[in-house]
């Protein structure tokens, strides 16, 4: 009754299970904690700890009715007051933006809580469904202080944290009292007793582990190995729509990327289709904007889409005054067009970066690779020394634009260091100006389009989620009523025999 799973490589090195004060949370957070709201496979909001919710007509208040009988792992009951205390944890943390629009929360009754809004926030339900809105026991949280989530993590989720070795593995055990759950959940505890989440940075090692039976499931199978997995009699793959996006931010404050023409040139030098076909075997999509294609905000006007156009790339670079030299590198006033391309040390990024490096070289931009440990690179951005990098994110909401391009978050997450008054105005309109979803969508499209026009990044690739598992040992849920394989998936996962 024990299952070992390898986490996605981009989750390797997470340092705590503190959902409130951390901008990187691994899959385990979905299992230790519950959220008020979850999403189903169609991205529709479904109840998790909240049984139902009502939005006031003016959008200035939300009332959530909570499920009864919910308790934390330590036995503390979960009630309306818990939600109020929990919300009070956010101010001052890096996830405070989630509830920026919330004025305060009030206890209506034992199981009813009302959010009083500063302004309408069409995105509140989404925010509540993200992993960063996972609900720890506020008392336990306060007690542990800074170290919360490192040794102890107290949630209401289907699994309890048994041990956590950073960068190594997390061991979870079943919460036998679990009688709730998101959306289609049966209200029964998980079927497996023990779950080990291993962190293996080298995705191919992870694959070999799966292949040799060392682990039961990979949450992210490199496309290179899909054929192998499908070919193996005991292994199967499960494909889910992707929610990741790989892109290349350019630091607009660092030469030569302080010149928009250079950014344009480099942005159009990236051959997304070639990468998709050759590196990822055609699995996934060639990205042409900053948002995953399942989001309506990704539907921007064609003129703002960024996709491979070598003529335009070369022309932009010529316009910027960079002339092609004899050795294939452009020069201007005797200086070579040579930049440092930051990347992470795992093979996915290294390989991708090498391709990007070669594609930049093709338009006369010389890139020198600088590799960082995945756990360290975000801290390196805080020095502001980066010029251009290869990165990826996992998010299924348009507000990610604000996260990565807002002038209020320079260095990191705004790695591009974009600080543009017009962008800020458009951002405010999108984030806080909209009263309903339609307005919000339109505002984000405008914001997205404007950002693209400034070329602070180049889109690269939109992966699909490929989960590989040992079909001889695991019984997967027949239909997964969730966008990703997390809470519901592990609740319903079973072991044969």
């Amino acid at each position: 009754q024990e299952v070992t799973v390898v986490m996605a490589p981009n989750e390797v090195g997470a340092t705590s299970y503190n959902p409130v004060a951390s901008s990187m949370q691994p899959v385990g957070t979905y299992l230790i904690y519950d959220r008020l709201i979850a999403k189903d496979e169609n991205l529709a909001y479904v109840p998790q700890l909240a049984e139902s919710w009502v939005e006031a007509d003016d959008g200035m208040a939300w009332t959530f009715t909570l499920k009864p009988g919910v308790t934390f792992h330590n036995g503390t009951p979960f009630a309306a007051q818990t939600v109020v205390d929990w919300l009070a944890l956010y101010p001052g943390t890096e996830n405070a933006y989630l509830f920026d629009a919330v004025e305060r929360a009030e206890v209506v009754s034992e199981l009813e809580v009302r959010f009083v809004m500063k302004r309408p926030d069409p995105n509140l339900l989404y925010n509540l469904s993200t992993v960063f809105a996972s609900i720890p026991d506020p008392a336990a949280y306060a007690e542990a202080g800074e170290d919360y989530g490192v040794f102890d993590a107290v949630g209401t989720g289907p699994f309890r944290l048994e041990s956590f070795e950073i960068g190594q593995q997390t061991v979870l055990v079943r919460n036998d009292d679990y009688a709730w759950g998101p959306g289609a959940a049966t209200g029964k505890p998980a079927k497996i007793e023990r779950l080990t989440l291993r962190e293996i940075a080298e995705s191919s090692t992870a694959f070999l582990e799966l292949k040799t039976g060392g682990v039961d499931m990979l949450l992210n199978v490199p496309t290179d190995f899909v054929g192998e997995v499908e070919g193996a009699s005991d292994l199967s793959v499960l494909q889910l729509a992707g929610q990741d996006l790989v892109y290349m931010p350019m630091n607009v404050t660092q030469a030569p990327f302080d010149d928009i023409k250079v950014r344009e040139g480099v942005a159009f030098a990236i051959n997304q289709q070639e990468i998709l076909d050759a590196v990822f075997g055609g699995m996934g999509k060639a990205a042409d904007g900053f948002l995953i294609s399942s989001l309506p905000e990704s539907k921007i006007a064609d003129e703002f889409r960024i996709s491979y156009n070598p003529e335009r790339a070369n022309k932009a670079l010529e316009d910027a005054g960079w002339v092609m030299g004899t050795d294939g590198v452009r020069t201007k006033d005797g200086a070579r067009l040579s930049v440092k391309l930051w990347t992470q040390s795992d093979s996915f990024f290294r390989r991708l970066s090498e391709v990007v490096q070669a594609q930049m070289k093709a338009v006369g931009v010389e890139a020198e690779l600088v590799t960082f440990d995945s756990a360290a690179i975000r801290d390196q951005y805080k020095t502001g020394a980066h010029q251009v990098a290869v990165r990826s994110y996992l998010w299924d909401n348009a507000d990610i634009l604000e996260w990565f391009f807002s002038a209020t978050r320079p260095f990191y997450p705004n790695v591009s260091m974009l600080d543009d008054p017009k962008a800020e105005t458009l951002k405010d309109a999108a984030m806080t100006g909209a009263k309903n979803s339609a307005e919000r969508e339109a505002a984000f499209v405008a914001y997205h389009e404007y950002i693209n026009s400034q070329f602070p990044y180049a889109p690269i690739y939109e992966p699909v989620q490929i989960i590989g598992y040992n079909a001889e040992r695991l019984v997967m849920p027949e239909v997964l009523h969730a966008p990703r394989f997390n809470t519901l998936g592990f609740l319903e996962l079973d072991v044969k025999e």
């Binding site: 800074e146 490192v150 960068g167 090692t205 070999l208 040799t212 060392g214 360290a376 801290d379 805080k382």
Partner: protein
């Protein structure tokens, strides 16, 4: 003898401090500011200062060093900045893995090396000698990580005998131990062989033959005994080598251990951990030399007497 041990341990004290100074200064030469790691997005300069003060990073280097040493002496290795745990705990978690791996690899290479060396020396110049020595030498000259990968390919992937990676159960120890052990075997075998050949040519061996002692007795009870002394000396000197040498192997086999802890912390700029791991390794080296000397004293009466 006891006096010698005490003296040796006392001698370790200045060395220990010298080493700690070297390690400390080296760490402070590393680029990057560990505080960056702690700062959350959008934190204020005040928060930064508070953190700097919390870790004592605002004080003069000498004071920082004294503070660190003071804590180390009371058993407090500090707190990991990125991993946010007591360093002592991290090290305590990693050390058993390294010790098992290193210890087993050491035993493996010692036993195999001594046997190979003895056989090679006994049939010196024969094809057996050439073959065996060539074999272990060859094994020790291949890059560790490559051998590791090949072993995975052969034993885990093709044959499915051993797990690919990780540290669960003795099966997962087999390949790493083999990979590290192979390098050590060559060294031990070479030292054993040379020492035995050297000893075989000594007058006392000729005299043992002249006394009518059986050649096998001579080889095992007398010659090998002499040959083991340099083997012990070399191995003792290389304790740190074996513990830390697991670095590549631990990475290839994704095993926890001091080596991978060190690499990870180095990559993450988690300096308290790097500092402590290096200190532990240095201490292992020093203890190794001490053990080597004691073992040598136990084996060699001449050495024993020269100590008093």
């Amino acid at each position: 003898m006891l006096g010698y041990v005490i003296r040796r341990i006392l001698m370790l004290v200045p060395v220990f401090f010298a080493v700690s100074v070297v390690i400390f200064s080296m760490i402070h030469m590393l680029p990057g500011d560990p505080i960056e790691n702690l700062l959350r997005v959008g934190s204020s300069p005040a928060q930064r200062e508070a953190l700097t003060a919390k870790y004592g990073l605002d004080r003069p280097l000498v004071e920082q060093y004294l503070l660190w040493m003071g804590n180390v002496l009371t058993g407090d290795l500090g707190t990991a900045i990125v991993q946010r745990r007591p360093v002592a705990q991290l090290v305590a978690q990693a050390l058993p893995y390294s010790l098992t791996l290193g210890g087993l690899a050491l035993c493996f290479s010692t036993v195999l090396g001594v046997v190979v060396g003895t056989i090679a020396a006994s049939w010196r110049g024969s094809w057996l000698d050439q073959g065996l020595m060539g074999g272990v030498l060859f094994g020790s000259m291949l890059p560790n990580f490559w051998i590791g990968l090949l072993m995975i390919l052969v034993f885990s992937v093709s044959l499915g005998w051993t797990p690919v990676s990780g540290a669960r159960g003795w099966e997962s120890l087999v390949l790493p131990v083999l990979t590290i052990g192979l390098g050590g075997t060559a060294l031990v075998a070479r030292v054993t062989r040379i020492a035995m050949i050297d000893t075989q040519g000594k007058d006392f061996v000729l005299l043992l033959h002249a006394k009518g002692v059986h050649p096998l007795t001579i080889q095992v009870r007398h010659v090998l005994r002499h040959a083991l002394i340099p083997v012990v000396t070399i191995l003792a000197l290389r304790i740190g080598w074996i513990l830390g040498g697991a670095v590549t192997v631990e990475v290839v086999f994704a095993r926890p251990g001091l080596g991978s802890l060190l690499i990870k912390s180095l990559n993450q700029h988690d300096y308290p951990v790097v500092q402590a791991s290096l200190l532990i390794l240095a201490m292992a080296v020093m203890l190794g030399t001490l053990m080597g000397d004691l073992l040598q004293a136990a084996m060699d009466p001449r050495f024993r007497d020269s100590l008093t």
